[in-house]
């Protein structure tokens, strides 16, 4: 099912309004009935919600629903554990195992008591397994952006607990990558809005920074990259392939890193202080880029598969026009 334009428009308005009014992600997700929205139209719901979550530089476990919906499993899972490493070349083989060590990221560990769905590498391929919350231990990720609220979890699972194979698991990871790509675009849009507002009023040499060509060109490029990133995400949902999702996540990660760099430069010294909102954008952008495959790693994966003779996909086919 596809959400019609007016429903999508209303959903967008209410999410944006709620974040702008200072609402917390968790309450907003409950208000819009996130589970139903994802079930109705995961692509539209994800593109709208995650861009707004990014713009608000908030975090939540909304992504879990995207993964669970893509897997469409029987049974109830109340949380998802994401792999730390997704590059097939970096996944360690674990042949002949009695127990499966699960290491990963949980987006919001609070109040989880039921079953977890974990995406784990088995013999260098991602699989989905089920593992009870009781056997995992969690500690805050910290790192570059402690405010993201993520946890690092470890636990030991039964190797017989596989609930989805490699193909289905990659499909779920692809949906998650597209949602994260939208969130990255949102973070970039926030950075651009902050920079645009700053340079319009801040004066140097007697005139606003925004009247200097270098500032204008940089911000115009930021807008271009963010628009292109959003367009790739849309095309990738339509294409529905693993490569398309990889392309979208890689482009968005690269675009937003460049946007944050340009915005920081034009805003100047205040932008590199910890308390400035641009720094929160910079930190979140790096965390999201690293999650489920960084731009560097994904574009290397794409490139090596192409150089090895793999099909170079046309992200948009002429028929799609």
């Amino acid at each position: 099912m596809v959400m019609d334009e007016s429903t999508a428009g209303m959903l967008h308005t209410s999410i944006r309004g709620a974040f702008a009014a200072g609402g917390r992600a968790k309450e907003i997700l409950a208000m819009i009935d996130w589970v139903d929205a994802v079930e109705a139209d995961a692509a539209t719901a994800a593109s709208i919600y995650f861009a707004e979550q990014g713009r608000a530089v908030q975090s939540s476990s909304a992504l879990d629903e995207i993964v669970l919906n893509a897997l469409a499993l029987d049974g109830n899972y109340d949380t998802v554990i994401y792999p730390l490493e997704t590059d097939p070349a970096a996944l360690a083989p674990n042949v002949d195992v009695d127990a499966l060590i699960v290491r990963g990221i949980q987006l919001d560990p609070h109040g989880r008591t039921g079953m977890c769905l974990a995406l784990v590498p088995i013999n260098q391929m991602l699989h989905a397994i089920s593992i009870p919350s009781g056997v995992i231990s969690a500690s805050p990720v910290g790192g570059f952006d402690p405010e993201c609220g993520w946890s690092r979890v470890t636990g030991e699972a039964d190797p017989g607990s596989v609930v989805a194979d490699h193909v289905a698991s990659l499909r779920a990871v692809s949906a998650a990558r597209l949602a994260i790509a939208s969130e990255l675009v949102g973070v970039g849009e926030r950075a651009l809005a902050l920079a645009t507002a700053h340079v319009a009023t801040r004066k140097q040499f007697g005139r606003p920074l925004a009247t200097f060509a270098t500032t204008r060109y940089r911000l115009a490029e930021c807008w271009t990259w963010l628009t292109a990133a959003a367009a790739i995400v849309d095309s990738a949902w339509d294409a529905g392939t693993v490569e398309a999702a990889l392309t979208a996540k890689a482009y968005a990660g690269q675009a937003v890193a460049d946007v944050v760099g340009h915005c920081t430069q034009v805003v100047g010294a205040i932008a590199v202080t910890r308390e400035h909102q641009l720094q929160a954008c910079a930190r979140r952008a790096l965390m999201l880029d690293a999650f489920l495959g960084s731009c560097m790693s994904l574009r290397g994966q794409l490139g090596s598969s192409f150089l090895a003779g793999g099909v170079i996909p046309r992200l948009v086919s002429p028929e799609a026009l």
Binding site: A210, A220, T224, A250, M296, Q301, L307
Partner: protein, 128 residues
């Protein structure tokens, strides 16, 4: 532009070049082409539903110039000496295309003009 990437891949296969650096550069060029394709598909769709395309279309031109130059620069860099010194018809063509790609950020409204249009009319920054 994808056919150029396909040709580049054939040349690199002949050279036996498939190292990490080449893979990264190739992947980067592919991303730029994909960005262009995704964005211009949107613009074409908008045109076909008869809505007018406004100043936002300047982004398409910037993406075009970026992708074209990046693909040809990637070829120049990865093919190395062959690109610079070879007089085979195929390599002469690479060089001609590379030369032409230098103009991509100049013809049809230079890159600076496109950026100024976006700054003025999309971002609505105060004018220079």
């Amino acid at each position: 532009m994808l056919y150029r990437l396909e040709r580049l891949r054939e040349d690199l296969a002949t050279q036996g070049r498939n190292d990490t650096y080449a893979a990264n550069s190739f992947g980067r060029a592919y991303l730029a082409v994909s960005a262009l394709r995704a964005r211009s598909a949107q613009t074409v769709r908008r045109l076909s539903t008869s809505s007018t395309v406004g100043p936002e279309a300047s982004a398409d031109k910037i993406l075009l110039a970026t992708a074209e130059q990046l693909v040809l620069d990637t070829a120049r860099e990865l093919l190395g000496d062959q690109f610079i010194f070879s007089d085979s018809p195929a390599d002469i063509e690479w060089r001609a295309e590379w030369q032409f790609s230098r103009a991509a950020s100049i013809y049809g409204g230079a890159g600076e003009i496109q950026r100024a249009i976006l700054a003025d009319r999309v971002l609505q920054l105060p004018k220079e």
